[in-house]
Symmetry: D3
Subunit: 71 residues, 6 copies
């Protein structure tokens, strides 16, 4: 039973219910395909949406990066 | 000093303050018992309550699973 | 840039190089598909293979579960 | 590309935008300094602020500890 | 189905198989007790033992702290 | 007491003891500076070094990326 944890920024209103369902289902099916059925009925997928002030790449928060892109 | 991270779904209004206190205290005491006093005064327990749309088992979100159970 | 962390048991000699490549590629492509290209070139996927003594479900380690299954 | 995850309690109104920017930038620069430039433009820093009811040390939640300190 | 992740230092030869079994069982039973049976058969407990060079408190690695204590 | 978890690839023989000490000390001092002394004596820093087969960016493992760079 694998545990897959997804951390992503919360943007454009956040991921929709359908996107989360699609991602959870897809990751589970993919894992089962790669590992011969393992986790098909037991894989745990957890999605964490993080505020763009709290998520940075290369020293700049995504909020900073997005605002610079808009200039 | 161990760090124990608990991820659980946020359901029925979420865990109460008392439940979180009981869980934190219990995990810390258990760890100290198993490891001869280690962590008794320093163990860190972090509880993360996750929306049922963001938590899936076997490819279905807990929201989906709960709604199917109610049918 | 999402960060996807996979925790799985280390069994049958562990995941092969090809399986890890397939899982990493598949998760990245899936994420990009679900979120309109996001993460296609920047998603981070980390795979942690955990000893079956260190991984338990329902209070039993996978080592215990596997040995009971063989009886 | 390192991934640095910071878990801290959400206190006094939480970390300000400037503090998160300073922490993200500082950690990224520090990592690049220690590891000869690695991660300077790609390090991911994620900051998670946790409710003091959900964060405990030595068996007591930070909420409990703070209220005892005020007595 | 909660996921409980334990990070602890690998010391004195590391946790024994029995200690890991006791910790996994105890955490699962405790969680089920606190949350009215939830997770009793599905809780995932993952134990990560970390080298004392890779684990620090207050700016000093556990290796440093232990060697200072022996002086 | 913040908990800072660093995930990085294990390359060129891995981080040296001195680099881990420098990173742990630096992150702790930085956190205390940004948050007015918080965590100076209690911050936990955990460094996880991950095999390059188990770490991917944009769908390719670091092993793949490094071998393509050498061609």
């Amino acid at each position: 039973m694998p545990v897959i944890n997804v951390k992503m920024t919360h943007e454009d209103g956040g991921a929709t219910k359908e996107q989360k369902e699609e991602l959870s289902k897809g990751i589970t099916e993919l894992f089962a395909k790669v590992f011969n059925g393992r986790g098909a009925s037991s894989a745990v997928v957890i999605i964490e949406e993080v505020n763009t002030d709290n998520y940075s790449i290369g020293g700049k928060t995504i909020t900073q990066i997005r605002s610079e892109t808009k200039k």
